[in-house]
Assembly symmetry: C2
Homo-oligomer: 333 residues x 2
DNA sequence: TTGAAAGCGCTAACAT
DNA sequence: ATGTTAGCGCTTTCAA
């Protein structure tokens, strides 16, 4: 046999009709044990694999969900992806994934491309979609989940947490620990990073005594190396007065810590350091780094579950789901 | 019109036949300017989006490639994925991704599932596929690339480097630096990790003087935390005699370093540490960690290019491509 | 350059 | 519980 086997081939081998084979594959309980065994045997024998395109065309169910993340290299999204993939698989959903490199325009193009796969739902990161992207999504009329942050104007469903409040609380943590001239270092400066910075500023504004503060940001991609550089810039800018650094993520925080050690600055004695995302390393370095934890795996999982729950049903407006966050105080502050 | 527009609808609006619309979408040069303009106008007017499933079924070209990696959480594969996605997109290829959690059986199931998408090629990690998986792949008759490691019995194409030789060279590096009682710590113990360990053992066997060595491994997933635990176990096993540790990857190495610092062991004075994969942190910690670098992004990129080059052509046996590796000696050894 | 007809492989809907 | 029939929406093939 040279040609790839199709349903009819399997049916012939099993001595049944094509639809029976189809039923065994789709819902085995609809077929008697006897025939089911025959069919399963025939499937194995022929190495049959169902043609997804034909199945999708005939049933108008693609079994696909689309997912767009801003970065494949940021481990944060990997944990979300794990939640997504692990929930999608047992539900027989294929994931088609796009990386929009933090660009709403790239995201728009990706949405257009991915919608061509007739996904049964789509998961997006953040809420910075272009108007045209929103239009495309509305026309597609499929469930949409916006992930990671909370938004007032969701396209459809929304799950995440407030980066503003997390940034606010982290800054308050620094102030409460007695640091009075805190700095903020940020890379990439995507919307969520900006919200963290806004939280930082608001917390300072709300503090009873006025505090001097310093901010160093760049739109360059985040990395530990950059964390070191930004720390240097911050210390230079503040002429050494800065006594604490809020790093917009843990990569930066780790780099800042290593750099501080190279500069013979005691952490937290000379300078406190805190990060965001609570990566594993942050709890293992010396000193361990204070950070913000959030349920990333769970967000991915829930996003898929929300799509599943919404499938087929008429769209009803669901309140955004706030999964919250947690300040994990450690030795670095 | 409430129903989603199809080719015929667009054709009617444009006053042409369906096939003409199809041609405008696929290869506009095949249609006269006059009709092409009419059609393009009609497409915009109707908001038409081509049905991928029908297109794939009729043309038997899915525009999809399948990729299976052992882990979404291991940053190493993310870099490979970036190479894959960044090469796939400009070539109008969709990637369908599967995570087999280092299990050949899960991989087999994933292959079966992903082949259902009629991918035009498939990229696999490693060479530990089950017999049935290999049968499925042969039957599918599409280009296959096995990635990351080199194998004598490739299914089709192969690109990677020798983990055995890398492990061998790294161990030789330790011996040449004067360490005589080296240890190896390994987690997960997937085939590539085992090859690194085999290289470690061979290097010791080949060394002119006999050396005592220690090995601590676990099949648990790798993590920095585990690196610390394995280091403790190694030191206990060797009663402190161990003077160098070859960690099977950089996560373990970082954890081992942090643990050594907590134990007040000088690195590399009391104990040398080296890792594998050359993650960014390895170059930034104090002391920086010796590691093995390889061209992961490039491997992903090349794998897609190999699929593209092989598409359609009769399968000819191509020699495995060795992308090599590099020992990056740093202060930790 | 354009179109008409004939499926691609599967499943929904309708028998039996 | 099983089978028959008729498409799903597109592209291939062949004809004009």
């Amino acid at each position: 046999m040279s040609r790839k086997p199709n349903l009819k081939d399997v049916a012939k081998v099993a001595g049944v009709s094509a639809i029976t084979v189809s039923r065994v594959l789709t819902d085995p309980t609809k077929v008697s044990d006897k025939l089911r065994n025959k069919v399963e045997q025939a499937v194995r024998e022929t190495g049959y694999i169902r043609n997804h395109a034909a199945s999708a065309l005939a049933s108008s169910r693609s079994g696909v969900i689309a997912v767009i993340i801003p970065s494949l290299s940021n481990i944060v999204f990997n944990e979300v992806l794990q939640g997504i993939y692990q929930t999608a698989r047992p539900n027989n959903l294929q994931v088609v994934l796009g990386d929009c490199h933090y660009s709403p325009l790239e995201e728009e193009k990706l949405i257009a491309t991915l919608l061509g796969q007739s996904p049964e739902g789509i998961i997006l990161t953040g809420a910075a979609q272009t108007d045209y992207a929103r239009k495309l999504l509305e026309r597609a009329d499929i469930p949409v989940v916006q992930l990671m942050e909370l938004t007032d104007q969701p396209i459809d469903m929304n799950i995440g947490f407030s980066h503003f409040h997390a940034g606010y609380d982290m800054t308050k943590h620094l102030l409460q620990r007695g640091y009075r001239t805190p700095g903020f270092i940020g890379a990439r400066m995507d919307p969520r990073t900006q919200q963290r910075l806004a939280g930082f500023r608001q917390a300072l504004a709300d503090w009873p005594q006025p505090c001097q503060s310093f901010v160093q940001t760049t739109t360059q991609p985040s990395s530990a190396r950059l964390g070191g550089q930004l720390l240097q810039a911050l210390i230079a800018e503040s002429a050494g007065k800065c006594d604490a650094v809020f790093c917009c993520n843990d990569d930066l925080a780790l780099g800042a810590l290593f750099e501080a050690q190279k500069m013979n600055l005691a952490v937290p004695g000379d300078i406190a350091i805190c990060g965001f995302n609570d990566l594993e390393s942050s709890s293992l370095v010396n000193p361990s780094i204070t950070s913000v934890a959030s349920a990333r795996f769970d967000m991915g999982k829930q996003a898929v579950e929300m799509l599943l729950a919404a499938a087929g049903k008429p769209r009803k407006s669901i309140a955004p789901i706030d999964v919250g966050y947690q300040i994990i105080a450690r030795r670095s502050t």
